[in-house]
Amino acid sequence: MALLSVNKLTKSFGGLTAVLNVNMEINQGELVGLIGPNGAGKTTVFNLITGMYEPTSGTITLDSNGIKKEIQGLKPYTICNIGLARTFQNIRLFKDLTVLDNVRIAMHKNVKYGLFSSFFHLPSHSREEALLTRKSLELLEILKLDHKKDELARNLPYGEQRHLEIARALATNPVLLLLDEPAAGMNPAETAQLTELISWIRKEFNLTILLIEHDMSLVMKICERIYVLDYGMVIAEGTPEEIKNNKRVIEAYLGEDMSNAGD
């Protein structure tokens, strides 16, 4: 049984159909890529899966630890708490907060002390805050951001902001991680580093990952399976090798030489 199954997902904005009858399955432990030309509807699919938009029709089912749940139309925070985390294409950090606070906020759902405890900083507050801070620092260490924990997020260099986005998503303790163009704006060296990081966190956190990316070198290198979206529809699905040689995909990219992209 797939961890995430998307069934006939459709979303129209007024007269414009952004996503039409999309079917996707992502199995436990897989790393799946979602590619397509600009405006193909990739981010809309993400927004539908993470509850930012409500689908016009179709279902999205998450099967986490044998509990099946339809998540379409639920609120983003509910979906996050079920175990889906995401990053944003146009980085949406809490810019005026510290690196540490960015991560601690994402860990909020684990906090058990109540409001009353927070008013008077009762022992339960101090105990859990210490634990929360420790866990956050561990996570920052993994992403090599621990030495910048007290910096404001806005002051980080671009690449580190992308890393912090991933750290923040991981802090919500997800089963499925959705990365929206994590390599956007990175140079080849940074992209290579990121590629390694993604493979590594996937093993370390036992994650399933769905990834939108424009950088073909990254997609072809680490994705096990790829969905190709064009005009809101899935036009191809398969291994990187199959996608490279798929006629419709090459047409969709109009001249972009796919066969060289992965080398």
Partner: protein, 294 residues
């Protein structure tokens, strides 16, 4: 039934005033996203300028109206240049506090100069004092003047906004001021012009209220200003026809609640309607729903 007509006529007169003030709020909000709290005081100043013209200078209504509108235009532009322009890149709440400062400044300066007590406009004479009786429904000349002046001004405003270069610039700046600037539109001039238009309308409303209700005081702008703003929000803030519809709606509701219900609850009903509208359709009657792009 006749009473209803009478109320409707009173409501339309009052609504005209609200609509004139609301237009200034809505245009300024549309262009720089500021709730211009000082706007209601420009209206108050319009009433005082009219008072001076009609008592001290013994001018007639029409010249007084024009002088009042002209001076209010000047005041509006000055306020914008002195107090708001330096804050163009500040947070909106800082500009809002500045607007509150300007509002207090105008109120209390007027109070220091003209005194805190109520002033009465001279009684209307000649044809201005006429009234018409149709059955038991009576319409005063002043009501007819208010409604006709308002209609003329609104038509003029629509013409300026829709048909002139500067009107086109106003619409462009309110949609996207950065893009408008790149297209060669002088944003600062356009903003000043918007303040000028709004203030002229407020000035007209001020002098007409002075003649309609006879009494004016330095704090007279507060409540009507608030309700005119409600009218602007009701119709969809930033949308010119919305402010007109909102103004008339609020005026009529207010008069009907006073006439048929409890006048003490008049303002309460206005605010309750506002909240209902906001909850059901947050962008107002004519507003478009927009959502933030993720």
């Amino acid at each position: 039934m006749e009473q209803l007509f009478q109320q409707a006529i009173n409501g339309i007169s009052l609504g005209s005033i609200y609509a004139l003030i609301a237009l200034g709020y809505t245009m300024v909000y549309g262009i720089i996203k500021l709730i211009n709290f000082a706007h209601s005081d420009v209206y108050m100043l319009g009433a005082y300028i009219g008072y001076v013209c009609m008592t001290k200078l013994k001018l007639g209504f029409l010249p007084s109206l024009l002088i009042s509108m002209a001076l209010c235009t000047l005041i509006g532009v000055l306020i914008e240049k002195i107090a708001y322009k330096p804050l163009r890149n500040a947070t909106r709440i800082a500009v809002l506090i500045t607007a509150i400062g300007v509002s207090l400044f105008l109120e209390y300066t007027t109070m220091a100069i003209a005194g805190a007590n109520v002033r009465t406009y001279p009684p209307l004479t000649g044809f201005m004092n006429m009234s018409f009786e149709i059955g038991s429904v009576s319409i005063t000349m002043m009501q007819i003047i208010i409604v006709s002046v308002t209609i003329v001004l609104m038509v003029l405003l629509q013409f300026i906004v829709k048909k002139t270069r500067i009107g086109k610039a106003m619409r462009a700046v309110s949609l996207d001021s950065d893009a408008a600037e790149l297209m060669g539109i002088n944003v600062n001039t356009t903003i000043s012009f918007t303040f000028a238009l709004g203030s002229a309308l407020a000035g007209a409303a001020g002098i007409m209220v002075g003649n309609y209700y006879n009494s004016i005081n330095p704090l007279m702008g507060m409540l009507p200003g608030l309700k005119a703003f409600v009218a602007a929000v009701f119709g969809g803030i930033g949308i010119i026809p919305g402010a007109m519809i909102g103004g008339y709606f609020i005026g009529i509701v207010e008069v009907l609640v006073s006439g048929y219900g409890n006048s003490m609850y008049r303002d309460g009903v206005v605010f309750a309607i506002l909240i209902l509208v906001l909850i059901i359709k947050p962008t107002g009657l004519l507003g478009k729903n927009t959502r933030e792009k993720v």
